[in-house]
């Protein structure tokens, strides 16, 4: 049965909280593309990204009770789940090992001119337009999940500078989004 109904976010939430297939199907059809793009921004390898997408949507379905609409939109909440799950995958030993193997294969593809460029995907595309110092910061925090303290140590710059730079990176990012 094909559904063409359009739901408002609060209506969709009712359907999901009642655990209906229709609700989940709508959620997937409407958000999987945007969420997949968030994941691809962190995990560039499509097969791994697709596995993570599965994990993320199963998590969304199982944890929907913990979502509180007072704290933000459903999409914002789902993006956080996607981002954290993806960062966990990238940090796992298994992924690290696969990446090392892949580097050899990748260079072959690159020679053939079919390289996959994550800078063309989603939020990465916007971040790519930032100044170098801002890009570095967003990359470490948003895509790699480091805290401001950790970044301050890694880059050997004072925490205060990290905070100021972060804020100005955010303002630049907003401008790019608005274009």
């Amino acid at each position: 049965m094909q559904t063409t109904t359009k739901y408002q976010e609060h209506e969709l939430l009712v359907l999901i909280r009642q655990r209906t297939r229709e609700g989940f199907n709508y959620l997937y059809e409407n958000y999987s593309g945007a969420i997949y793009s968030v994941i691809l921004g962190i995990i560039s390898e499509p097969e791994q990204a697709s596995d993570t997408l599965q994990e993320v949507f199963v998590k969304i379905w199982k944890q929907i009770e913990t979502y509180d609409e007072q704290k933000g939109r459903l999409y914002t909440w789902m993006v956080q789940i996607a981002r954290h799950s993806s960062i966990d995958v990238v940090r796992s030993k298994k992924y690290q090992a696969q990446q090392q193997n892949r580097e050899i294969t990748d260079s072959v593809y690159e020679l053939a001119g079919s390289e996959f460029n994550p800078d063309n995907i989603g939020i990465r595309k916007a971040v790519h337009q930032l100044k170098k110092e801002h890009k570095e910061l967003v990359d470490l925090s948003y895509f790699q999940g480091y805290t401001q303290e950790e970044i301050s140590e890694m880059l050997q710059i004072p925490l205060g500078t990290v905070k100021t730079r972060m804020r100005s990176a955010m303002m630049q990012l907003r401008k790019i989004f608005k274009q």
């Binding site: 599965q54 199982k62 303290e149």
Partner: protein, 269 residues
């Protein structure tokens, strides 16, 4: 703190993207409760982020959807009943008086009935879901309705009291320096009941309470305390006889004699 400056500092974006330290997050969560414009800015950026995300969506491989659904299949509450194929019977029973060929209409009728049954089942399930969500909305409306009824009844009782032919209305105007204050006493001379309506009195500070006084032969007589949470007509102490009524602000619980410097309104009967 300048809210506008805070809003445009980049903290909103940092918060929505989940990049705040826990102190920064605590701060913005606290501030959004008291500054609606901050809350609106957060919401705006969430919308912007969502629009950006949708504009850059990448369609995932179709296999992913099937894999997800197979993992959570059992948790759906609206799953349609599985259609079990009907086993063909070895021999179609014949009705005496008809030959085999003419019996076809029976098979067609059965098929039609079965299709109708399925369509009905699907419809029922959809209706049931709709019913469930309407039921929730109905319960909250009922609750609201009961509250409104209660308010209406108490207002109706107030109107009855005010319009009683034995009820005298005494307008108490603000005294010098407190001209904007206003209160009204509805005094039933037959039953001595006194009702007070707070038209306009400043909210008393903590530990203070308004006290009504009846002036009887030049002497102030305590006519009761005005509860802070009383709305509409508030019943105070019964007064059989009075030439005037006045309100002073006293310590919580009241005073034996009025503090004249704290008089707000006064009106003669």
């Amino acid at each position: 703190m300048d809210t506008q400056e805070y809003i445009s500092s980049g903290i909103v974006e940092q918060f929505v993207l989940g990049l705040c330290s826990s102190e920064e997050e605590q701060e913005i969560l606290r501030l959004r409760k008291i500054h609606p414009e901050l809350n609106a800015a957060i919401f705006d950026f969430e919308l912007l982020l969502e629009a950006e995300g949708q504009a850059n969506a990448v369609v995932p491989p179709p296999a992913a959807k099937a894999a997800i659904f197979s993992q959570i299949e059992d948790s759906f509450k609206d799953t349609l009943p599985k259609i079990v194929p009907v086993q063909p019977q070895e021999e179609i029973p014949t009705i005496p008086g008809y030959n085999g060929k003419k019996n076809n209409w029976l098979a067609y009728a059965a098929a039609a009935a079965f299709i109708l049954f399925l369509a009905n089942a699907v419809g029922s399930i959809m209706l049931y879901n709709k019913y469930k969500s309407v039921q929730g909305a109905y319960a909250s409306l009922q609750k609201e309705n009961a509250q409104v009824k209660l308010q209406f009844n108490s207002m109706y009782a107030d109107v009855q009291r005010m319009s009683n032919k034995s009820t005298q209305r005494i307008d108490m105007a603000g005294v010098a320096g407190r001209e904007e204050s206003l209160a009204t006493v509805f005094w039933n001379r037959e039953t001595s009941e006194v009702y007070l309506f707070k038209n306009n009195l400043p909210t008393p500070e903590k530990g203070k309470q308004y006290q009504l006084w009846a002036i009887v032969d030049g002497q102030p007589v305590d006519a009761g305390m005005l509860d802070a949470d009383c709305e509409g007509l508030c019943k105070l102490k019964s007064i059989p006889n009075a030439q005037a009524f006045a309100i002073t602000l006293e310590k919580e619980g009241g005073s034996p004699t009025p503090t004249m410097s704290e008089m707000y309104v006064l009106g003669t009967t």
